[in-house]
Structure formats: structure tokens, C-alpha cells
């Protein structure tokens, strides 16, 4: 469930970033499309990075071994 919640957080942050970019850097339709592409790509990359690390730790096969020895 934490995965879905954080994914939703990333989506919201992405949308807010798109709106901020549109408002702050409005320079014609072509440049706006370029900025939108950059923001979406960055959001997806960051989400992917987080998601991979999170998924890897959901049910780890290799758990931290606090004692010395197998």
C-alpha cells in the first residue's frame, strides 16, 4: 500500500511541476511542449529510481544479519 501512496505523491508533484513550469516559463507553444516533456521525463526517472529501490526491499531474500556468522 505504501507503494501506491508514494506513487500518487510523485504524480501530484509531477502535475504541480508542470503547472509551475507553464506559469513561470511561458514562451510559446513549442517551448512549452519542450518544457512539459522535460518535466514529465524527469518525474518518471525519479519515480522509477525510487520504485526500484522500494520494490527491492518489500520482501528481501537477503535480510540484515546482525550476528557474525551464517
Amino acid at each position: 500500500m505504501g507503494f501506491l501512496v508514494t506513487t500518487l505523491i510523485f504524480v501530484v508533484i509531477g502535475i504541480i511541476a508542470c503547472l509551475c513550469t507553464r506559469i513561470c516559463c511561458n514562451r510559446g507553444p513549442s517551448t512549452n511542449l519542450f518544457h512539459l516533456t522535460l518535466v514529465i521525463t524527469a518525474t518518471i526517472c525519479c519515480w522509477m529510481m525510487w520504485a526500484i529501490v522500494y520494490l527491492a526491499q518489500m520482501k528481501p531474500l537477503i535480510v540484515p544479519i546482525l550476528n557474525e556468522g551464517e
Binding site: G2, A42, C46, M49, W50, V53, I62, V63
Partner: protein, 681 residues
């Protein structure tokens, strides 16, 4: 007819007649009558102009003639008076001295005899030319002549040029025909007008009277002609506006009827060359575009990979570099370069500094992403839930299971990111083919590539995610190998979900089919396309293997086409092999994501903590110094370029290789300076 109207307009402007502002409503005019009338008027006007010019010329000549006669008369009278006075003086002396002066008298008689044979020429010459004129005449005749000039007070109208010019009247006395011919030539060369006259005073007066009479007659004639011309021009002006409007309408109608571009002033030159490529960039995006252009310049209107490179390049660097501490160091360096931007831009930097300054925005982006990925994969917060919310669990640090876990994590992460990147590249090839309306590339290049890649490596990514989600202990390595070696055997303990065996069989079959799908149809379709274009037939999209056999039979029949089938086939074979093997090696090369962080941990543990353990100030100082040198020298200055180059290769090979042809050339504005440089080269 428009030309004649322009002529009339010009003549009216010269004469000071303005065309009437209102135009008469005369509907009886049609074009044929108008043309005849304009022709007649033009002929009449030209004749009047010619006659006026002749009359004016003659009038100017007569005026000059009159002036010459008057001046020459004065000269002759003056000379005569002087001669008389001189003679009287001589007689007086003879009387006084008697017989002593007898020889002088004889000499005088001889002089009088010679004077009878002298000739003379009179005329007008320009005042500014009079002195050289006089000098040259003396040289030509070797001084054997007499020249007299008189100034005319007011300017004279020149018959030839029609301008008011200051002139002098001249009279030349000479002896001999040879000298006369020389003088005549010199007069012609200097543009001097000559006029005949007599040396008899009574005849001179008579000639003056005749010339004056002719001048008066010509004056009256010229005035009458001017009045007539003015009347004609006024008549023309009365109708000029209407005529012009009518002709303009007719021209417009003719233009529309002919559908011709009369007003076009430029001509398009057709060429079969591909246009050059130009991408509009600013100081932020230009460095990323340079990374793309180093691989190849895009073909005209080809999709630009530089757009996604702005984000994906720094991200991939960060995945490899992945350290928030060193990321902050990079960020500080980039900020310094950006703050000193204006100063450095005008300076002459060294090679390394020039490159760093040029890529300052790349460095900033790489630093920001490094800080993020460092947080996401290394440090973390206090554990409060079952799964660590952000980053790697810090309890994992320092344990014996840290290295296996991190290696496993990064290996799988590399595969996931690599497959995503390759899929993005193939999707870009779809958009390229769609834009250029190349259906062959869509159905026989994009579709089989997507199928092949995702049947094998996409499926592997799916297995990775399922394994993480379910906590299964399946061995993906063995699973993938035995999918190829023995696809029909039982999965045993490696089974992850129900129906996996059947799915693997289907995917394997799809991958096997995709390879000949990429290889075979495209060359045959290109060949058929060429034939139909050559024969002017319409193009039909082929589908199915039966048509392939038909194409093969056709290829046997048309073995000597201009279209080089074997070359296209070999090219497609190379491309297919490159993609299949590339998919394998590119996935493996994604494992270069594993770099850097191990090295960072080694320096931290072995140098700094070891020095701290000795509990000695001197050893601690030495340890800190070594750690700083290792951090700056190895991790920042050496490891950063290494990660940079790896990210560069990932972009060029895994991403751009999937869709980018890059066989265009860059746009350069035309410049003569460049031509000069090229000539020097």
C-alpha cells in the same frame, strides 16, 4: 499601350501639363480603337518633338553666327584703325627724313603684298578650353599665324548640348593650305564651331541683317510649334486617367485568365539535395545538443534525441555516480562556473577549463540528480514501517549481507533501466517512421523490434518485479537459460505464477518469428516499390509469406535492375543482426551502473575510520588529508569523467542506435568570410 501611356506621362511632366483629375465617362471606347488612337497620338507627338529639336538646333546655330559676326566686325574695325594710324606715322617720318628712308618704304610695300595671301577662320570655343586651344594652334603652325580672341559677356546656348556655356570668339590668320587643314582639325578636336564670313565691312553688315531676319522667322516658327505641342498634350491629359484605368483592368483580367504569376519576382530552384539541419537551442540546451551531434547530425526533419537527453543523460550519470556528498561537491563547482559565467565567457580558458565551462549546465544537472539518487539508494531515515519508505535500510550497512544485497539490487535496477531506455528508443523510431509516412519501417521494423525486445528482456523485467513483490526464491538466471535450452521441461521450484510455462513458450516463439520478420520483408518490399515507381504503377502494401515467394520469383526475372537488391538485403541483414545482438549486449552493458559507490565506501572505511581508530592527532590529520586527496583526486576528477563516458555510451548505443540515422549535415549561413577561409585552406 501601357508603354505609350508612360511616354505621354513623361512628356506632359516635361511640358508642365498635368493630367486632368476627373475622368470622362466614355463607354464607347474599346481596346482596338484605343490602341489605334494611342498609336496615332504617339506618332504625332514623336514627330513634333523631332521637328522642335531641329528648329531649336538651327536657332542656336544662328544665334552663335550673329555673335561671331558682331565680334569679328569689331576686331576688323579695330585692326583697320590701327593700321591707318601706323601708316600715317610712317608717311610723316618719310617726309621729314626725305631720301634716307627710301628702303623702309620699299619694305612696307612688300609687307602689304604678303598680306593679300593670308587666310582666316573665325568661330566660337569654350572659355575653359581657349588657352590650350591657343597653345596647340601655335605649336601646330610653328608660330606662323596670328590668333585673336574676344570674350562674350553672357553665356551662349550650345547647339549640341543645349546648355548655357561661357565661350570666346576667335579669329585665326594663317598662310598656306597645309596649316589650314591642321587648324581645322584642331577646331574639331576642341569642339569649336566655325562660321564663314567676309572681310568686307559692307558685306558683313548685310550678312548680319540676313541672319537676324532668319532668327526672327525661326523664333516665330518654334513658338508656334510649342503651342501646338502643348495643345496636343493637354488633349492627351484629358483622357490619360481613363485610359490608364481601362488598361489596368484589362491587364488584371488577363492575368487572372492566364493564371500566371505576373507579379512574381523570384524563382524557386528545384534540387534533389536534402536540406541542412538546424536546431534552435539556448545556452542551457546547446551542450546537450552537442552530445547528440557528436554521434551524428540529424537528417532533415528527423526526430531529435536531444530533447530527452536533457533529462535522461544526467539521470543515467547519477545512477552510476549516485552519491549525495560528492553530488554536492559537483553542484558547488557548477554553481561557481555559472556565477562567473559572464567573466569566463569573455576569457581565454584552457582546454580542460573550456570544456568544463561549456558543460556547466550538464554538470549542474548531473549534480542535482546525483544528490537525489544518492538519497534514494544510500542514506535513509529512521525505520518506522515494515518496508523502508525511501532509500536503502541503514541497518543493512556494515553487515555481511550488504554487498550481496546491493549487488543484486543494482544488477536488477540496471536491467530495468536499460530495457526502459531501449524501449524509448524504439518508440522514437515509430514516430520517425510515422512522420515520414514510411509504412515499411512501421510494420517491418518497429513492430518486430518491440516484439523481440519485450518477449525476452521485457519479460525478464517483469519476472524481476514479480520476484520482488512476492518474495519468491526463484533463480531468474537459470530460468532464462532453460527457457532457451529446454523450454518444455517442468519449471519446478523456479515457477513464479500459474501458466508461466505456456507464456514462456509463446514469448519464445514470438521472439523467434520476429527475427525473420525484421530481416526478410523489407528488402523485397523496397524492390517491389522501386519497380512500381519505375513502371508508374500504384503501390500496394504486401502482407503474408505467399507474396514473398512471388517477390522472389520476380527478383529472379529482374536481376539487372538499377535497384541494387543484394546491397539492400545485406544492409538489412546487418541491421537485424546488430539489433538482436545489440539487445543482449546493451542489457549487459547496463551493468556499468554498478560503479562508484563501492569505491566510495572503501575510501571511507579504510582511510578515515582507520585513522580515527588510532586515537592519535597526527595520524588523524594524515588520514583526513589522504581522504580529502582521494575524494577530490579519484572520486571527483577521475570517477566523474568515467561515469560521464559510460552515460555517453549508454545514450549513443542503447538509445540513439535504436532509431537515429544521423546522416544529415549542419546548417551554416552563407558567408564570404568562410569562402575566404576555405580558399586559404
Amino acid at each position: 499601350m501601357a508603354r505609350r501611356l508612360r511616354l505621354f506621362k513623361e512628356q506632359m511632366t516635361k511640358a508642365g501639363v498635368s493630367p486632368s483629375m476627373w475622368s470622362t465617362r466614355d463607354d464607347h471606347f474599346d481596346l482596338e480603337h484605343l490602341e489605334v488612337k494611342l498609336e496615332e497620338l504617339e506618332a504625332e507627338l514623336l514627330e513634333i518633338n523631332a521637328n522642335n529639336e531641329k528648329l531649336q538646333h538651327t536657332y542656336n546655330e544662328l544665334l552663335e553666327y550673329k555673335l561671331v559676326l558682331e565680334k569679328v566686325g569689331e576686331l576688323f574695325s579695330s585692326a583697320k584703325n590701327k593700321a591707318v594710324a601706323h601708316q600715317k606715322e610712317l608717311e610723316f617720318q618719310t617726309t621729314v627724313e626725305g631720301s634716307i628712308d627710301s628702303p623702309l618704304l620699299l619694305e612696307q610695300e612688300e609687307t602689304t603684298t604678303k598680306q593679300i595671301k593670308l587666310g582666316f577662320i573665325g568661330g566660337l570655343v569654350h572659355r575653359e578650353k581657349s588657352i590650350p586651344f591657343e597653345r596647340i594652334i601655335f605649336r601646330a603652325a610653328r608660330g606662323n599665324l596670328f590668333l585673336k580672341q574676344g570674350v562674350i559677356e553672357h553665356p551662349v546656348l550650345d547647339p549640341l548640348s543645349g546648355e548655357m556655356v561661357h565661350k570666346n570668339v576667335f579669329v585665326v590668320f594663317y598662310s598656306g593650305e597645309r596649316v589650314k587643314s591642321k587648324i581645322l582639325k584642331i577646331c574639331d578636336a576642341f569642339g569649336a564651331n566655325r562660321y564663314a564670313f567676309s572681310n568686307d565691312s559692307s558685306k558683313q553688315f548685310q550678312t548680319i541683317r540676313e541672319v537676324s531676319g532668319r532668327i526672327s522667322e525661326l523664333k516665330a516658327t518654334i513658338d508656334a510649334a510649342l503651342i501646338h505641342r502643348s495643345t496636343l498634350l493637354q488633349t492627351i491629359g484629358y483622357h490619360h486617367g481613363q485610359w490608364r484605368l481601362l488598361i489596368h483592368k484589362v491587364l488584371q483580367r488577363a492575368t487572372m485568365d492566364c493564371s500566371s504569376q505576373v507579379v512574381a519576382i523570384f524563382q524557386v530552384l528545384e534540387t534533389t539535395e536534402s536540406p541542412p539541419t538546424y536546431f534552435c537551442t539556448n545556452k542551457f540546451t546547446s551542450s546537450f545538443q552537442e552530445i547528440v551531434d557528436a554521434y551524428g547530425i540529424a537528417k532533415y526533419q528527423e526526430a531529435n534525441p536531444g530533447v530527452y537527453t536533457v533529462v535522461t543523460f544526467p539521470f543515467l550519470f547519477a545512477v552510476m555516480f549516485g552519491d549525495w556528498g560528492h553530488g554536492i561537491c559537483l553542484l558547488l563547482a557548477a554553481l561557481y562556473l555559472m556565477i562567473r559565467e559572464r567573466k569566463f565567457a569573455s576569457q581565454k580558458l584552457g582546454d580542460i577549463m573550456e570544456m568544463a565551462f561549456g558543460g556547466r549546465y550538464i554538470i549542474m544537472m548531473m549534480a542535482l540528480f546525483s544528490i537525489y539518487t544518492g538519497d534514494a539508494s544510500t542514506t535513509g531515515f529512521i525505520k518506522v514501517r515494515s518496508t523502508y519508505p525511501f532509500g536503502v535500510d541503514p541497518k543493512c550497512h556494515g553487515t555481511r549481507s550488504e554487498l550481496p544485497f546491493l549487488n543484486s539490487l543494482k544488477m536488477k535496477m540496471s536491467i530495468l533501466l536499460g530495457v526502459s531506455q531501449m524501449n524509448l528508443g524504439i518508440i522514437m523510431s515509430y514516430f520517425n517512421a510515422k512522420y515520414f509516412k514510411n509504412n515499411i519501417n512501421i510494420w517491418y521494423q518497429f513492430v518486430p523490434q518491440i516484439i523481440f525486445l519485450n518477449s525476452l528482456f521485457g519479460y525478464l523485467s517483469l519476472l524481476i518485479i514479480i520476484k520482488w513483490s512476492t518474495g519468491s526464491q526463484a533463480d531468474l538466471y537459470h530460468l532464462m537459460i532453460y527457457t532457451f535450452l529446454s523450454p518444455t521441461d517442468d519449471l519446478g521450484e523456479n515457477q513464479l505464477f500459474v501458466g508461466q510455462k505456456l507464456l514462456q513458450l509463446v514469448l519464445l516463439l514470438l521472439a523467434v518469428v520476429a527475427v525473420p520478420w525484421m530481416l526478410l520483408p523489407k528488402p523485397f518490399l523496397l524492390k517491389k516499390q522501386h519497380q512500381e515507381r519505375h513502371q508508374g504503377q500504384s503501390y500496394d502494401l504486401l502482407c503474408g509469406t505467399d507474396d514473398t515467394l512471388e517477390s522472389e520469383s520476380q527478383s529472379i526475372a529482374h536481376d539487372h535492375d538499377e535497384f541494387d537488391f543484394s546491397e539492400v538485403f545485406v544492409h538489412q541483414l546487418i541491421h537485424t543482426i546488430e539489433f538482436v545482438l545489440g539487445a543482449v549486449s546493451n542489457t549487459a552493458s547496463s551493468l556499468r551502473f554498478l560503479a562508484h559507490s563501492e569505491l566510495s565506501s572503501v575510501f571511507y572505511d579504510k582511510v578515515l575510520l582507520l585513522a580515527w581508530g588510532y586515537n592519535n592527532t597526527i595520524v588523524l590529520i594524515i588520514g583526513i588529508f589522504v581522504f580529502i586527496c582521494a575524494t577530490v583526486g579519484v572520486l571527483l576528477l577521475m570517477e566523474s569523467p568515467s561515469a560521464f563516458l559510460h552515460a555517453l555510451r549508454l545514450h549513443w548505443v542503447e538509445y540513439q542506435n535504436k532509431f537515429y540515422e544521423g546522416d544529415g549535415y549542419k546548417f551554416f549561413p552563407f558567408s564570404f568570410t568562410l569562402l575566404t577561409d576555405e580558399d586559404e585552406l
